[in-house]
């Protein structure tokens, strides 16, 4: 029993990182109707920046600072590469984000260099005993951070003017425009928030280890998560993220019981397989809204 609880705690930690990343994707999707394939690059950038700031400033200053810097970068990217594409096919914009990802990732890995860099988190691989279950501190920190951020985000969307504007723009862009909502500002804020979330997610994904060039691949796992939860559902992103995280841990744990022809490291593709299976039954994910189609 404790073993299972331990696994679930690991899964929750991993899942909350996925949830943060998935939230970034969903926020961009809701306001601009585009999946941003640039999130992996922002994630890597955030983690690399934290690894630079953490030495002189300490971890708890470095993370918000890196998040702000990444948000600023995302704002710049949105202004230069995405804004000119307003009104163009979403597919074209999605491909532009792939281009952005390629470019930003080169600079981030260039900054990363060949040395081993760490984000310098205070937890490392230490663990605490809670109710007889040994839980790694970093996983607790991940869950707590995600809960705080998700609460803040929901409050932002619920109670602020900008949040209201963003919800209006997500609901109907033209009607929002007619009501005086600056859709451009909505796009910018969406990209900024997504950039900051990716940076924080990247930092936690690198916590307990070092910043790797392949860190961005974790962000791609958020793609099956958002499809699973439904592209336009914020609760779906959080629940999907946590579910996928726990599932991945379970699969990794019971790997040895699987038939050998499945090969090693099955947990890496579990999210994608689950996504395919769910989509066969529910084409708009678990919580997504069905698109109303007009000719």
């Amino acid at each position: 029993m404790t073993e299972i609880l331990q696994m679930i705690s690991r899964g929750l930690g991993l899942g909350s990182v996925y949830a943060l990343l998935a939230l970034g994707f969903v926020i961009i999707y809701k306001s601009t109707r585009v999946i941003s394939f640039a999130q992996p690059a922002f994630m890597l950038t955030g983690a690399v920046l934290v690894s630079y700031f953490t030495g002189p400033l300490g971890f708890f200053v470095a993370v918000p600072l890196a998040a702000l810097a990444t948000a600023a970068l995302a704002l710049g990217v949105e202004r230069v590469a995405i804004r000119p594409m307003v009104g163009r096919p979403v597919f074209a914009v999605a491909i532009i984000t792939i281009g952005v990802d390629l470019v930003v990732r080169v600079f981030a890995t260039g900054l990363l260099g060949i040395d081993i860099r760490q984000v310098g988190d205070p937890w490392g691989l230490e663990s605490t005993l809670i109710g007889g279950v040994e839980i790694q501190q970093r996983h607790i920190a991940m869950v707590v951070t995600t809960v705080v951020l998700v609460t803040l985000l929901f409050a932002f969307f619920r109670f602020t003017r900008m949040g209201l504007a963003m919800r209006a723009a997500a609901y109907d862009q033209e009607a929002a425009l007619a009501q005086g909502v600056s859709v451009g500002a909505v796009f910018a804020v969406a990209w900024g928030i997504a950039g900051a979330l990716a940076a924080i997610g990247g930092t936690f994904a690198a916590a307990g280890g070092s910043v790797e060039q392949t860190l961005g691949l974790t962000a791609l796992v958020a793609l099956p998560v958002i499809i699973l939860g439904g592209l336009d559902s914020l609760p779906g992103a959080v629940l999907g993220g946590v579910a996928v995280g726990v599932l991945q841990e379970l699969v990794a744990q019971y790997q040895y019981k699987f038939p050998s022809w499945l090969g090693g490291n099955v947990s890496a593709i579990t999210p994608w397989v689950v996504m395919l299976l769910v989509l066969l039954v529910r084409p708009y994910g678990l919580f997504g809204t069905r698109e109303v189609e007009r000719v």
Partner: protein
């Protein structure tokens, strides 16, 4: 369809109408009036203007003569370009014509590459092989197996639209990567790889230098001729009933469905044809290098093919070919940069180095083309053509 008829002679009015029906005259071109079409079939022809006929003939002659004057190193690159063009045409059919965004092209390329490698592989080798080296066996087989994989994926495409489909096809690449990395009897395993298909034409090995021509010359000719065949077939698909159904689905799928186009059927056809092309490209691609590892078939490869289609010009065959050559030759072109631009290093340890620059160029080109020239290289060509067509007038 409407056809040009000879005017009746004046006395024809008196003839009883039951006499032999008017037969369409053979379509003919009028000298000096290139824009006048005297029949529908002429207007819809593959090469419907004289200048197109001349230009295509010139290009083919130039291509066939190229191995005699170009050094082998470049021929090798151009042969890869031809194969990439076949793959890009396939992706262009499903993404450019039928509008179904596929990020899973690398998966279908992999299926084709492994089918061909297995059929022509050494039966006593480390990996599975049946030892049938004839090109006429493994090339169609690779295409067909890949097409079958495409048909299996198609049910998802008929249920999903837009970016949902893009992410699902992306999932295909990741799942495929896992399978190919783990199935060591088939692929040789991650980082190790296996020998590719052997191009054997009527018992003549094309990948070994012969008495008359070198290996690269022979391979270039093979790939060039195959590219012409595949391009013509694709162009014919595009201007047939199927191709028109594709464009109708791309432009507005519900409207197309209302008009009686079976969405499920044509989306399946689009995926099957595209995967067939991808499979053939995969089978051919590695005969040039002779060896390949499962790590090749990743997201990067899919993005590269998307870049070819978009930079070349989505929804055109010639655009896909241009894009494929552009993307294949770009890395070679950037290798000249260190000698021109002083601060770019040629080694991977230098900080702004050629390899970083290449990736930045790919990314920047995708962005710049999509923002400023959505019709790609083909669009640039159209502008140039229209300028000279109307010259000296502005339009």
């Amino acid at each position: 369809m409407t056809t040009f008829r000879e005017p009746r002679p004046a006395n024809a009015a008196q003839e009883p109408t039951t006499s032999e029906p008017l037969r369409p005259t053979t379509p003919r071109r009028l000298w000096g009036r290139p824009m006048l079409y005297t029949s529908y079939s002429l207007e819809m022809g593959l090469l419907n203007t004289r200048s197109k006929q001349v230009a295509v003939a010139a290009l083919i002659v130039l291509g066939l003569a190229m191995p005699l004057g170009v050094p082998d190193e470049y021929l090798n690159l151009l042969a890869i370009g031809c194969v990439a063009a076949i793959g890009a045409i396939g992706l262009g059919l499903v993404t450019g014509y039928a509008g179904q965004v596929s990020l899973g092209h690398a998966f279908f390329i992999a299926v084709g590459a492994y089918t061909a490698a297995v059929i022509s592989g050494n039966p006593e080798g480390r990996t599975i092989g049946f030892g049938v080296t004839s090109l006429f066996v493994w090339l169609p087989a690779a295409g067909l197996v890949a097409a079958l994989a495409g048909v299996l994926v198609a049910p998802l495409a008929t249920r999903l639209r837009g970016l949902y489909l893009a992410v699902v096809t992306l999932g295909l690449v990741f799942i495929g990567e896992h399978i190919f990395n783990e199935w060591r009897e088939l692929t040789g395993g991650s980082g190790i790889g296996r020998p590719a298909a052997v191009p054997d034409l009527f018992g003549y090995r094309l990948n070994v230098s012969g008495p008359l021509f070198t290996r690269d010359q022979q391979l270039f000719w093979l790939m060039f001729v195959l590219l012409i065949i595949f391009a013509v077939v694709a162009r014919n698909i595009a201007r047939s009933r199927v191709g028109r159904a594709f464009t109708a689905i791309r432009d507005r799928d519900i409207a197309a469905g209302v008009m009686g186009i079976s969405l499920a059927r044509y989306k399946t056809v689009a995926f099957a044809v595209s995967s067939f092309y991808a499979g053939c490209a995969g089978a051919l691609l590695f005969t040039i290098s002779g060896f390949f590892t499962p790590n090749t078939f990743n997201l990067e490869m899919s993005v590269l093919y998307i870049a070819m289609v978009l930079i070349g010009g989505a929804g055109t065959i010639s655009g896909a070919i241009m894009g494929a050559f552009f993307i294949t030759l770009l890395p070679r072109a950037t290798q000249f940069l260190p000698s021109v631009v002083p601060f770019v290093g040629a080694e991977s340890t230098d900080v702004p180095n050629v390899f970083q620059l290449q990736v930045v160029l790919y990314g920047a080109l995708i962005i710049v083309f999509l923002i400023f020239e959505p019709r790609g290289l083909f669009g640039i060509w159209l502008r140039v053509r229209n300028y000279w067509k109307a010259w000296p007038f502005s339009y």
